[in-house]
């Protein structure tokens, strides 16, 4: 089906380069495939990334995201397809001839060198004169707040400090593109949250294009200007975090990013600007606010996020998007409550509500309730 039928992101930043058809991409990945023997790690991926983006490649293990990153760094060569950086074809260019630096998941700090020597390593390879080198190293250490640690060896640092040395080393040569392989993966939760903001701050300050590989969807949502979701070697969807969350284009993306309720059904009416889907699972007719791909009678799924569903004791006036069920489980988290509702079909629906009021008479276990949502909240998924 054509793109015109796909939901548009309301108010998508008009100035964003990816929304501007005339903008020139900084990195072009065109039909890149990488095979290891019979195994296809990356399958015909095409992707444009723009200058100063913080692009997240998000996917589970074995999704091909790391292989794609390694091809950008030059550690692997594509089996077919081309990678262009600033209009230059990178085919055959070894890692040491690319305007690209990488921060490794294991940090890969040289254990036999001091922190300062680690940061200076890349500059030394470029023959940067000593005085300038020292200055740049000092500047980098200042940036990652490790000034007093220049003489230490990597094993004398904590995990968070090592992570920052790795970042400083990768940025010391002022690369046009920085690749980060699970940059926060080895840090504990609290440190990870702090570091996320530091990383974004540094990226915004330097304006360097970042490509981050991660399996953590929350990390991707926090960091990214855009996210590319990868599954089985393919990019299943590219978009801004909000777009990916609100308008997933496939069951995989809807399930992978955040919580979702998925109702399987069949197309009953396929209009010009709306569609009606009959779902036995939901025990209701579901209205979608746009034309869906496929013909009447075709199987289709509707995804609704838990926080978009309203719950009440009274039956709403609408005839569509209304479900009835029984409260099976409640977890009260203070600010939020999670509910699990059992529908007559046996399907469980998850609902999240903010606890705005101090209800004197809150909905409780085994109480019959009605669920509803506004038509724009539902997303139809055919793939």
């Amino acid at each position: 089906m054509s793109l015109a039928q796909k939901p548009k992101v309301p108010g998508a930043a008009a100035r964003a380069p990816w929304a501007d058809p005339d903008a020139k991409p900084f990195i072009r990945i065109r039909n890149v495939t990488k095979k290891f023997g019979d195994f296809v790690a990356v399958n015909n991926v095409s992707l444009d990334i723009y200058r100063s983006e913080l692009f997240c490649l998000l996917g589970g293990s074995g999704s091909g995201k790391s292989t794609l990153l390694r091809m950008l760094a030059g550690f692997e060569q594509p089996t077919s397809g081309a990678i262009e950086i600033e209009g230059q074809d990178m085919a055959g260019a070894p890692p040491y001839d690319r305007p690209v630096n990488m921060m490794f998941q294991s940090y890969a700090l040289f254990p036999h060198m001091s922190v300062a020597d680690n940061v200076a390593y890349g500059l030394k390879q470029d023959g940067v004169p000593r005085a300038e080198r020292d200055e740049r190293v000092a500047e980098m250490l200042r940036m990652v707040k490790l000034e007093p640690y220049g003489k230490r060896r990597p094993h004398q640092l904590s995990g968070g400090q090592r992570q920052r040395v790795a970042l400083a080393r990768a940025l010391a040569k002022r690369p046009k593109l920085l690749l980060l392989d699970e940059p926060l993966g080895a840090l504990d939760k609290k440190l990870r949250e702090e570091t996320q903001f530091e990383l974004v701050g540094i990226q915004e300050k330097l304006g360097t294009t970042f490509i981050v590989v991660t399996h953590d969807q929350e990390e991707a949502m926090t960091l990214a200007t855009r996210i590319g979701v990868m599954n089985q070697g393919q990019i299943t969807q590219v978009g801004e975090p909000r777009e990916i969350y609100e308008y997933p284009r496939s069951r995989f993306v809807a399930n992978f990013i955040g919580d979702v309720n998925m109702f399987e059904g069949r197309i009953l009416v396929d209009g010009v600007d709306h569609a009606v889907i009959d779902s036995e699972e939901a025990g209701a007719r579901i209205r979608i606010g746009y034309a869906v791909p496929g013909r009447e009678g075709d199987p289709i799924a509707v995804a609704v996020r838990p926080e978009k569903i309203l719950m009440g004791r009274e039956r709403p006036a609408e005839t569509e998007n209304v479900l009835s069920g029984v409260v099976e489980d409640i977890s009260y988290l203070g600010g939020l409550s999670h509910y699990r509702i059992r529908l007559p079909s046996g399907k469980r629906v998850r609902i999240t509500q903010t606890n705005r009021d101090r209800h004197e008479d809150p909905i409780t276990w085994e109480e019959p309730v009605f669920l509803s949502w506004e038509t724009p909240s539902g997303v139809a998924l055919s793939s």
């Binding site: 294991s106 890969a108 470029d126 230490r152 904590s158 080393r169």
Partner: protein, 277 residues
């Protein structure tokens, strides 16, 4: 019997078994009698005579020269072999190559020595080189069998090597050769040093292979000692052995102390890092 006293007795017997011969050797090196088995009072004259024994001193010098050169060559070649074994993944004939590299570890020395002798003789007849048996032939022979030990040591060190270190260096602009000398080599240096020391010791020790491939004027110390002992044990040999023991013990002590100090330093550093200072 209580297990505590049993362990004590077992340990004492074990140590007695290990060290009684060495202690008696050291004691008899100070024996003022030509007869090895008769105590004739204390003297240090054998040590003086030892340094006047030109043949023995020469043999020691040959041994040292052979050991240093052979260990160095074996370390270079063994490192290359170890690299191939750990880095080239699965190539055709890998198993055969592995087997061939490590075979000298289990090959009886007599066979290694004999086969090398036949090779050298054959080569000399065919090409005129090597002209007779000399220090050169011993060096070649020792390099051959020490190489296997170095290869195994280097290979096991490389097995635990984080490849992303090399990738990081390359990513930062270093070409492969530069990566090897600035990152890989310094990190595996301890394995190379222990490989070299192992090769050095093995070469210094070897009497069997050397006796096949050594010629007149190029006798190594173990070969010389062996041939003299056949004519009766001289107290000079005892003195020589004592000196060797002292050198080895002191070397071992220094190496251990250095290692303990490095380990302590490392632990202190790590604690400092954990304290977040």
């Amino acid at each position: 019997m209580r297990s505590g006293s049993f362990l004590l007795i077992a340990a004492s017997l074990g140590f007695l078994f290990l060290y009684a011969p060495i202690v008696s050797l050291v004691v008899y090196s100070f024996n003022d009698s030509r007869l090895v088995t008769v105590w004739g009072g204390f003297t240090t004259k054998w040590y003086g005579e030892l340094f006047k024994d030109v043949a023995l001193v020469n043999a020691a010098l040959v041994s040292l020269k052979v050991a240093v050169i052979a260990a160095t060559l074996a370390t270079i070649l063994g490192t290359i072999a170890g690299f191939v074994l750990s880095r080239f993944g699965r190539f055709k004939g890998r198993l055969l190559f592995t087997g061939m590299v490590t075979a000298p570890l289990v090959m009886p020395e007599v066979i290694t020595g004999l086969s090398l002798l036949l090779l050298f003789v054959g080569l000399e007849q065919a090409t005129g080189w090597p002209a007779g048996r000399s220090a050169t032939t011993i060096i070649i022979a020792h390099t051959t069998f020490c190489l296997a030990y170095v290869a195994v040591v280097v290979q096991s060190r490389l097995a635990g090597f984080d490849r992303s270190l090399e990738e990081a260096a390359m990513d930062l602009g270093a070409r492969p050769l530069k990566v090897f000398f600035s990152v890989t080599l310094p990190i595996i240096a301890p394995a190379l040093i222990s490989g070299w020391l192992l090769a050095f010791t093995l070469s210094l020790d070897d009497a069997v292979i050397a006796s096949f491939v050594s010629g007149p004027g190029s006798t190594t110390l173990p070969v010389e000692i062996l041939s003299r002992v056949r004519r009766g044990v001289s107290p000079v040999i005892n003195a020589l052995a004592t000196l060797i023991i002292v050198v080895v013990a002191v070397g071992f002590l220094i190496a251990s102390l250095l290692m303990i100090r490095a380990e302590r330093q490392r632990r202190r550093d790590e604690q400092k890092a954990l304290a977040g200072k």
